[in-house]
Amino acid sequence: MSEKTEWQSARLRAVQNLTADIRLFEIEPERFVAPAPGSHIDVAVRIGERPDTRSYSLVGPCTDGIYRIAVKLLAHTRGGSAYMWSLAPGARLGISAPKNHFDLGLGRPDYLLVAGGIGITPICGMALALHHAGARVRVLYAARRASDLAFADDLAGVLGERLTRVVSETAGRINFQKEIATLAPGGELYVCGPIGMLEDAKRAWQASGRPVDQLRFETFANSGRFANEPFTVTIPRLGKVIEVPRNDTMLAALEAAGVDMISDCRRGECGLCALPILEADGIVDHRDVFFSEAEKAANAKLCTCVSRVAGGSITVDTADRPG
């Protein structure tokens, strides 16, 4: 994804808390480009002293020339959300033009859109676009508590019965097998949510025998089966022991400690940053979409950009050789 990003200046026009931990940001760009459904923008953030970027999906079609993103405040993560939450209206921001890694295919006979938590952000624009195009569409929107379901009332206003809210605290997980069975042949499933939801969806999709390309998904790099915990990485080949803090990725920690790494997407898709696991005494929390379920179970490698160890330590090898 060696995409060139052209940064432009933008102004934070307003913020609004949608739930206890989801905040809407209205960003006024210098040069507006109408986004396609599923698009995101990159935002320049500061993590401590360090400049970094975060990608946030655009919410809705931006009909008034304002980009809207929603950011969930996450404790113990890398700090992008905390930075965003620190901004007050009037703040200047560096942003990219809209990009799209989650393209909505048009003209399909049926659509099922599934959002988990903050994964609702790209799904909103897709649902509205499909509604306006007169497409057959259903949206399942899951969150832990009813009070976490940001945008649900707005969506229900447009979709009516075609929106189903799933409160996982009481209703449990979405039964993908059942939901996929209701999708017309040739219909597409779009999923944006935590890795657990995505794996459920992939498993059920595969079992249904439907074409692999008709399951579309986007994941956020910071969700796993376990909460972020600090862990220790030992690299015998380099004689290094490296602490990965709760709020940074293993890849970044290795790079900071001088380990020569190659990587590209940094969101668990391309597999370039994967390292062989020599030993793990905690549970490896695979958060990537690069390895298959069987590969993850075999625990031979992990994608260091997103995956972590839940409490404990891991011993890995690198590509370094003498000479």
């Binding site: 994804m1 040069r31 507006f32 480009v33 109408a34 396609a36 079609p61 931006c62 009909t63 008034d64 020339g65 890694h101 989650f102 393209d103 295919g105 048009l106 509205l128 676009a129 306006h132 195009a133 074409p211 692999v212 390309d213 579309r216 998904f217 986007e218 997407c265 898709e269 391309c270 597999g271 979409v289 690069f290 390895f291 298959s292 069987a294 590969e295």
Partner: protein, 358 residues
């Protein structure tokens, strides 16, 4: 401030003749976009971005496998929707791996593609080109692929036929074209140039087709549909038999057809045909008319080809020199006005929120 090209993207453009798109990969550049075309097993045409997601090798250098394209470099496979369905040496497929799938429709014996926003690609917007269907009107045309000129120069050429007198002397050219007044009318998306030449000697091409002696009434009714389709209703009747009033029974009627597709800013694909509604079963005549237009440099369109490319070269060498316009350019100027309006609307659409999305 804009990097906008001189062609609207939100429009249907002819990319190929239907018979040219088979179970094989065909590369085309349309509006600066490299596209690979192929026919699926069910007969529908697929049009994909002609650059592999992975390393940008043109997919047209790969091969067709069932309804999917296999990249000729590392074997990534893309289906007709542009989604990757195979990646080498891994168990999963990167969810971001897609190439753009251009909306494509087949209509009037041509394949049309929509290079702009797919959400706006309404097949009802395909230009009316029914003269090319091969039913009521017959003729066999062709395409100048990669004609080295701005597509608008072809529009200029066809919207003003005084050039026939000079470029096509001896076939369809005639001094009467210079002397006859013309009318130009327009709607929001079309422009029409109408010229009647009453009681003239027919030029050789038409005299032969009419096959009857005596002066004729000749008409040229040129109909432009933005951004780049032109149909020229042309013919002659024996003079005074009421053609201008609507009775063309004492004459012969043809139509020149042009679906001009920008390739780059300075090249285009000129899909042309010349059709007629008389002697429709006369295959020999069809062939004669075809070679009359394009014949190894000797046809009338070959003559235009030479002029258009030379004109583009001159423009390239004199980039600051303006065009001056004459009265005869009214039709071309209305056509360009409509193209400019489409371009302006696209700029607004892209950079301002659209009402339609609300």
């Amino acid at each position: 401030m804009s990097d906008q090209k001189p062609f609207p993207l939100n429009a249907w453009y002819a990319a190929a003749w239907s018979h040219e798109v088979a179970r094989a990969l065909t590369a085309r550049t349309i509006c600066n976009k490299d596209v690979v075309l192929y026919r699926r097993a069910d007969g529908r045409v697929a049009a994909l971005e002609d650059a592999c997601w992975h390393r940008l090798l043109p997919l047209s250098m790969g091969r067709l496998q069932d309804d999917e394209v296999v990249c000729g470099y590392h074997g990534l496979v893309f289906n007709a929707a542009g989604r990757c369905t195979f990646m080498p040496a891994q168990k999963t497929i990167n969810p971001s791996a897609c190439v753009h799938a251009y909306p494509a429709v087949e209509r009037h014996r041509l394949v049309w593609i929509w290079p702009g926003d797919s959400a706006l690609a309404d097949p009802a917007l395909v230009p009316d080109f029914h003269w090319n269907d091969g039913t009521e009107w017959v003729g066999e045309g062709g395409t100048f692929y990669g004609l080295k000129c701005d597509y608008r120069l072809v529009i200029d050429n066809l919207m003003d036929l005084t050039h026939e007198t000079y470029v096509h002397a001896g076939s369809i050219g005639h001094d009467a074209i210079l002397e006859s007044p013309f009318d130009v009318t327009h709607t929001d998306r079309t422009a029409t140039v109408t010229r009647w030449m009453i009681g003239i000697e027919p030029p050789p091409f038409w005299a032969k087709l009419l096959g009857r002696p005596g002066p004729v009434d000749r008409w040229q009714i040129i109909y432009f549909q933005a951004p780049s389709v032109i149909v020229g209703d042309v013919g002659v009747t024996l003079t005074g038999t009421g053609a201008r009033e609507g009775d063309r029974s004492q004459g012969v009627n043809g139509a020149f057809l042009a679906a001009i597709t920008p390739a780059t800013e300075t090249s285009c694909h000129y899909h042309w045909n010349f059709v007629r509604n008389f002697r429709r079963d006369d295959a020999e005549l069809t062939r004669a008319i075809q070679t009359g237009h394009v014949n190894d440099g000797k046809g009338v369109y070959d003559q235009d080809h030479v002029v258009l490319e030379a004109q583009q070269k001159a423009i390239d060498r004199n980039p600051r020199m303006p065009f001056y316009n004459l009265n005869i350019d009214a039709g071309a100027l209305w056509a360009r006005r409509m193209i400019d309006r489409m371009l302006a609307a696209e700029q607004t659409q892209m950079h301002r929120p659209s009402e339609a999305a609300e």
